[in-house]
Structure formats: C-alpha cells, structure tokens
C-alpha cells in the first residue's frame, strides 16, 4: 500500500512536471513566432506545403468517403420520418461543425504529425540540432517554429477542404444515387447552416492545428535520440493528439452550445 501511494505520488509529480514543461515549450514557440513570420516566412511556406499540400490526397479521399457514408446513413434514417430532403443540412452540420475538424485533425496526426515528430527526432539523433546550435543558429526558431506554424496554418484549410469534399460525397450518394431532390438538398443547407456554425468549425480546426502541431514538435524535440526513442515519440504523437483532440472537441462543443 505504501509503495502504491509512493508510486502514485511520483507518477503525479512527473505528470505535472512534464505538463508544465509542455506549457513552457509552447510559450517558447510563441516567443519566436513573430520574428519567424516576419523574417523567415519562406520556411513557414515550405512547411505549409509539407504538412498541408502533402496531406491533401488522404484528406480528400477520406472526406469523399465520410461524406458518402453520411449520405447513406442520413438517407436511410431520415427516410423513416419522410425527411430525406433534409440530408443536405444534416450532412453540412455534421461535416462543418464536427467531422471536418475532428477527422482532419486525426488524419493530420497520422500523416503530418508523425512525419514532424520523426523528422525532428532523427535530426536530434543525428546531431543535426546540435550542429545548428554550434553554428549559432537556434534550432527552436529555425526548425521547430516553422514546422509548428506550418501545421497551424494548414489545418483550417485542410478541414475546410475535407468538409467541401465530404459534402460533394454526400451529394453524389444522396442526389445522384438515391435521387434526393437536388434543389432541396442545397436549399435546406443554405437555410439552416449559418455563419456561427462555420465559425465554430474554423475555431475548432485552429485549436486542433495548434494542439496537433505542438504535440508533434514537442515529442520530436524531446525524443530519446535512438531509433527506438524516435519510434516511441512517433507513436505517442498519434495517441496523445487523438486523445487531446477528442477531449478539446468535447470542451469546445460544450462551451459553444
């Protein structure tokens, strides 16, 4: 019993310490952000390409099929109440407010987050970050901040593209396959989805972008500099981001209702 309490005490202490360091690391990233945005925007653009443009294929394919599933499920359930014409606004609500930001963040963690964590971890393991320090170049501002900002900027665009392609998928299934009236599909959507719904989706995707990028950069930078350490950091990036995104989604939704 005594051991159990002592272990719990040490685990709690370690968690608090790590969480504090995680917050301080975030402040450190933010402190370098204005200078990098002004002086080295080219590095940020490159990372927007790496995290954003290179994630487009997976985002668009996933969006298309998620939208298609919404079309099938929405139609079969709404048809019970003769409300299948409402499928447009049903899918739009689901995609813009929830599925777009959340699934994009989860896919981002799997594609771009793991790439960021493993790249930074490998740079650490092969002394590239130390070499930068020795060349009087701060690796936090030269390597970490552009990657962090790249993810933050890319995420809302990816979520928007996911939602648009998702709606296209729903349209394909509901209108083209299941013969829902095309006018009703789009009109119901226009009448019910307002700017606040879209803003909620944008806000969520920005928060998830900050979370996913911060976790990926943190895990990479603090990886144990071995093959096993980098592997673990990559796995942790996906797991922690997924949990954080779902928890924050709940909290934000609760506050915005």
């Amino acid at each position: 019993m005594k051991h159990l309490i002592r272990d719990m005490y040490h685990t709690t202490l370690e968690f608090v310490r790590t969480f504090g360091a995680f917050q301080l690391f975030f402040l450190r990233l933010l402190s370098h952000t204005p200078r990098i945005l002004v002086t080295r925007f080219d590095l940020v653009v490159k990372q927007v390409f790496n995290s954003g443009a290179l994630s487009l294929v997976i985002i668009m394919i996933s969006g298309l099929f998620v939208g298609g599933v919404l079309g099938l499920q929405g139609y079969s359930n709404l048809a019970r109440f003769n409300a299948e014409d409402s499928i447009g606004f049903f899918a739009a609500f689901a995609l813009v407010k929830e599925l777009g930001p959340v699934i994009t963040a989860l896919l981002f963690a799997g594609r771009a987050g793991t790439a960021l964590a493993s790249e930074i971890g490998l740079m650490k393991a092969t002394d590239q970050l130390s070499a930068m320090e020795m060349m009087a170049v701060n690796p936090v501002s030269r390597v970490l901040v552009p990657r962090f900002l790249g993810g933050v900027i890319a995420m809302p665009f990816l979520a928007a593209i996911f939602s648009m392609v998702g709606l296209f998928g729903t349209h394909l299934v509901a209108v083209e396959l299941l013969s829902v009236d095309v006018g009703a599909f789009w009109q119901q959507m226009q009448m019910t989805v307002d700017i606040d719904d879209i803003n909620e989706g944008i806000f969520k995707s920005i928060v998830f972008g900050v979370l996913a990028s911060h976790i990926a950069v943190w895990e990479g930078y603090n990886a144990i500099p071995t093959a096993e350490g980098v592997g673990r950091a990559t796995t942790r990036t996906v797991v922690i981001t997924a949990i954080a995104v779902l928890v924050f989604d709940f909290v934000i939704t609760a506050f915005m209702l």
């Binding site: 490998l122 740079m123 092969t126 002394d127 590239q128 130390s130 070499a131 930068m132 320090e133 020795m134 060349m135 009087a136 170049v137 701060n138 030269r142």
Partner: protein, 271 residues
C-alpha cells in the same frame, strides 16, 4: 583574465556527472592559442563530452571554463551564440542537414549569419568544397555520400565562416588513406595559415603525432598526461605507454567488468 593571453581556453576544477556516473572531477586543462591540441583517451572517458562542455552544449556541475578570458557560464544566450560564431565544429558523424544539398549545407552558416550575395556565397562555398576535394559533389544530397565524404563536407561547413577555433570530433574515422593524408595536411595548413586554434579528439595516435602540437591524455575524469606527442611516447607512466603503444595489458582493462569467463560458459554464474 588577460583577453590576449596565450591561453585561449582554460578549464578549472571541472566536475561533470551524468546520473550517478562521474565523468570529470577536478579536471584542469589549458588550450594554447594558435596550437593544434589533441584530446586523447580510452573510449568512454568523456572526450566528446568535454568538447560539448567547452562549447556550452552541456553545463558542468562545478568548475569554470574560460574561452578567451570569458567565463562561458555567465554568457546570455545571445552572447553565447555570438561566441559560437567564432567556433567551427566537425561532429563525429558529420551531422549534415539531410534536407539540404552538399552546397546548401556548406552555405548554411553564411546564409544565416551574413548578407553576402548569392554570387559571393557560391564562390566561398566552392572554395571550401574544393579544399576538401568535393567541389564535384556540390549538388549531391547527404544520403548519397559515404561516411568519409560526409565528414569532409562537414569539415568544409565547419570552416566556411573562417572560425577562430576549429573543433574536430574524430575527424579521421572512416577516411581512406588518401583522404586522411589530405585532411591531416589541411588541418595543419589551415591552423597555420589562418592563425586559428584547433582542438582534435581522436584515438588515432599515428595521425595525431603528425599534426598535434600538444596532446592531453584523459583518463578517470582527469588529465592523466600532457605534452607533445613525442613526449607522450617516451612517458614512463604505464597508462600513457599502454595507450600510445596500443597494448592490451595495462591499467586500462580491455574487457568490461564481467564474471569469470569459464564459470559463465559453464553456466555456474547463474546458479
């Protein structure tokens, strides 16, 4: 401390431990301006750690390190980075930036710290690459280079800012005899022509003997012996003789601490 004394780097009463393992204790060492100084010692004695302490990549638990008369522990981050611009460091594995070409790796410090035109950067980079014999590899990526070539590119990058202090961590490992001969001569020539100070960590006793002005043999967290390579060769100390002549028997055990060999083979050590 006199800013222009002969002592460029002074280490006083240094203590550094990693966890329970004490790496240095009561270490004192002086590196003279303009000389090529070799740091030698058995594996695991902390030679690379010492380089990292000198460049404040690590912070000692006790003691003081002066670089050009300045206690480096008192420097702010900005001052430290200012000081590091006077250093060039060749890492053991080269540490080239893998997303940049050979040319861009060498150009990296120039692009970060100077406002030179692209034309001028090109001239400087090609000059440095030519010096290490890799001008023709300028467009290659680090993944396409052999270990020896990567280290030569890293050497070109280390000297591209014309530093005051060049630090080499195992510069001769993985080089073929031709490259090694060229690099040894290059180290000597650069040191003399540019009036810089060089610090070399190496196990390569033969090569060090041809290039170093002064050598320090580090063992058990302290400087066990120092002097010119020829003085070390003639030293009476058993440790120095064992190291300089590569003998298996002596104060430094070749085998890591282990149970009795025969007992272990017979499985009696687990009974």
């Amino acid at each position: 401390m006199d800013q222009h004394s002969d002592n460029l780097i002074e280490i006083k009463d240094l203590k550094y431990s990693r966890g329970p393992r004490v790496i240095f204790e009561g270490m004192n060492l002086v590196i003279k301006r303009g000389e090529i100084t070799a740091l030698m010692g058995p594996s695991g004695t902390g030679k690379t750690t010492l380089l990292r302490l000198i460049t404040r990549q690590l912070i000692p638990q006790q003691g003081t390190i002066y670089v050009d008369g300045v206690d480096i522990s008192t420097l702010s981050v900005a001052e430290l980075y200012q000081l590091r611009q006077r250093f060039g460091m060749l890492f053991q594995n080269g540490a080239l930036l893998t997303d940049l070409s050979v040319f861009e790796n060498v150009a990296f410090p120039l692009r970060e710290h100077t406002k030179l035109t692209n034309r001028l950067i090109r001239h400087v980079v090609l000059t440095k690459l030519h010096a290490v014999g890799l001008r023709g590899a300028a467009d290659m990526m680090p993944a396409q280079l052999s270990g020896g070539m990567a280290r030569r590119v890293a050497l070109a990058r280390a000297m591209v800012m014309d530093p005051d202090i060049l630090i080499y961590d195992e510069p001769f490992v993985g080089l073929d005899p031709i490259s090694m001969g060229v690099i040894v001569r290059l180290v000597r020539r650069m040191n003399d022509a540019l009036d810089i100070t060089s610090i070399i960590v190496s196990h390569d006793v033969e090569e060090i003997a041809t290039v170093a002005d002064r050598s320090f043999l580090i063992s058990d967290g302290k400087v066990a012996a120092s002097g010119s390579p020829s003085e070390l060769r003639l030293a009476e100390s058993e440790l120095v003789r064992q190291f300089m002549h590569g003998m298996a028997d002596g104060p430094v055990a070749f085998h890591f601490a282990a149970p009795d060999y025969a007992e272990q083979l017979l499985g009696r050590d687990v009974e």
